[in-house]
Subunit: 364 residues, 2 copies
Amino acid sequence: MTFDPTKHSHCRYNPLKDEWILVSPQRLSRPWQGQVHDDKNDADDDDENNNNNQQSTNPLCPGAIRGKTNERNPFYEHTYVFDNDFPALLSDISDDQNDNNNDDLFRCHVARGVCKVICFHPNSKLTLPRMTLDDITYVIKTWIDVYRDLANKYQWVQIFENRGEIMGCSNPHPHCQVWATDFLPNEARIKHRTQKDYFKKHNGNVLLLDYIKRELNDFKKERIVIDNEYWIVIVPYWATWPYETMLLPKRHILRLSDLTNDEQIGLCQIMKQLLIKYDNLFNTSFPYSMGWHGAPTGSFNNEDCSHWQLHALYYPPLVRSATIKKFMVGYEMLAQAQRDITPEYAAQSLRNLSGEIHYKDKKN
Amino acid sequence: MTFDPTKHSHCRYNPLKDEWILVSPQRLSRPWQGQVHDDKNDADDDDENNNNNQQSTNPLCPGAIRGKTNERNPFYEHTYVFDNDFPALLSDISDDQNDNNNDDLFRCHVARGVCKVICFHPNSKLTLPRMTLDDITYVIKTWIDVYRDLANKYQWVQIFENRGEIMGCSNPHPHCQVWATDFLPNEARIKHRTQKDYFKKHNGNVLLLDYIKRELNDFKKERIVIDNEYWIVIVPYWATWPYETMLLPKRHILRLSDLTNDEQIGLCQIMKQLLIKYDNLFNTSFPYSMGWHGAPTGSFNNEDCSHWQLHALYYPPLVRSATIKKFMVGYEMLAQAQRDITPEYAAQSLRNLSGEIHYKDKKN
Ligand SMILES: O=P(O)(O)O[C@H]1O[C@H](CO)[C@@H](O)[C@H](O)[C@H]1O
Ligand SMILES: O=P(O)(O)O[C@H]1O[C@H](CO)[C@@H](O)[C@H](O)[C@H]1O
């Protein structure tokens, strides 16, 4: 396919904000799945053992037939990976002849990439915090496999999960997505720069490792939610969302694919604990968007990226209860993000909650 | 009051993203008003003439008593301005002794400012597109008065309106807010830089004026929604939200307070047309966040800010119908904003709609 901006994915430059926007006109043919599905199908609404005949109608379930391609999912037992039927990115666009990278006002470039879906578990009613450690290990191993595979070819591999309808999740079946691109998206580009600048200025110290060190030593651990031998969960000093957290390894690790087996097990444990705490905060299946950031890949695999530290981010919107969320609107969109509860208060609340017993499993 | 970060508004620096977050711990005592009010009170739900006894209970109405201060609003006839009872910013914090601007990881500064509310009209059921041109003139004149007043003292005066519950609007009475600060918020700081860089590189040309010129001449007006002698509405080439628009003067104008009387009348007309188009798009009171950006103020009043061009931004979330919105989640939060419909398609849709007759006023 020769690049046509009315038909193919591309990025346009915003010269006022010095950032890019991904435009995916090919998605216009996509049927709307969000916010129309029956509430009864919501994950965690019922008991997770009651996973009856929903299997056949939900396109993410084992054995289901997916609409667009008429492909039948295998009867998978752990995780299942497939290409998104309505990808925001196309991989086979040839030639940038319509690129106009020298225009300061109307700048665009082709956006090549792939979009994958990873189902976490055959059971539509099960969310990560209620899975067994064994189940979660499969998720982590699948993340690593998919990441490693795409990292050969693409500059950036973004693994992310939208959980809950409030976060635009169009299907309640537990799953995440992976969008890999032949360019660095805004967030990646900025973090690449800021970490590099810090590294240079501080004689080869890594920003996030210095940060962990000071959180552990200088501030009475007031923003630390939980930690184990390999990992730590912090409400960052600069957190934007009310209960935002950052999950990161204590050792200098550049990418998800560099984790040892023990580190994977440690990740499994701490993720489960964090997500149980989240669910216990407002006695609800806590909505969030989460994702992984690590050193860029593709051609960056051959460059020195020691200024990077792998980390995951959890951005949950709830602020006061299962139904009251923080709106990032008006002032936030036009001027600057604003929060009421302090990161220290949020960390303390999460710290004090059980990370072992999920509220649904409590015996009254 | 001496600055105490557990009690007073301040900004914290995010070293990974090179941006700031406003923290307002003093707002924790604020009662929750959003998403609890009765749907029946929603603006535009009923006929706007039917503005019965709601007056007394809604704190934004003429004659109402506001909870926190027990102050009674005057029986205002046009617009009414008062200080937000639960401001995100405090003005009287003394001394920055707790500032730590030399710390690369834990950087913060006091955030001083004021938060005002501007009621647009005594009638709770009336939204801007259904007001008379005369009513809208009062709104614009009030914007300018409040802006001029705060611009003497503060570096940035952010006027913004959140319309609709979906945009976190906590009260259906037609109103906007003004938050003025003794610092440049993120968006202001970035636009100050990008416009300055462009100005320097292009021998004193103004970014947004060059942009308008090219939209008018080079592209068959495909992104222009509407224009008149003084103003133009464009879906920017780099628009993020599905039906985002930018409203700006055709002449080089730095600030809202520089508008001539004729330009104010022209603004009045084009705003009404744009907002009628928006409401007609999905036959609904179209939700959005909007706000004004112009040259910074306060100490910047004495600096050359010719690289700036005044503009208003409309960020509406709806994408397919009155209930289906675009979610900026997952990939957007972690990597880069993404859109499906092209800006050209959005502009065409808006262009083809009536800007004269509101769907509620159509005779069937
Ligand atoms: O002040 P309001 O209208 O109650 O609050 C609304 O607008 C503010 C400014 O955009 C946001 O910070 C809040 O999250 C939002 O709910
Ligand atoms: O692909 P989904 O899950 O249907 O869509 C969801 O996630 C995407 C990636 O964050 C967003 O662009 C969409 O707005 C959101 O609804």
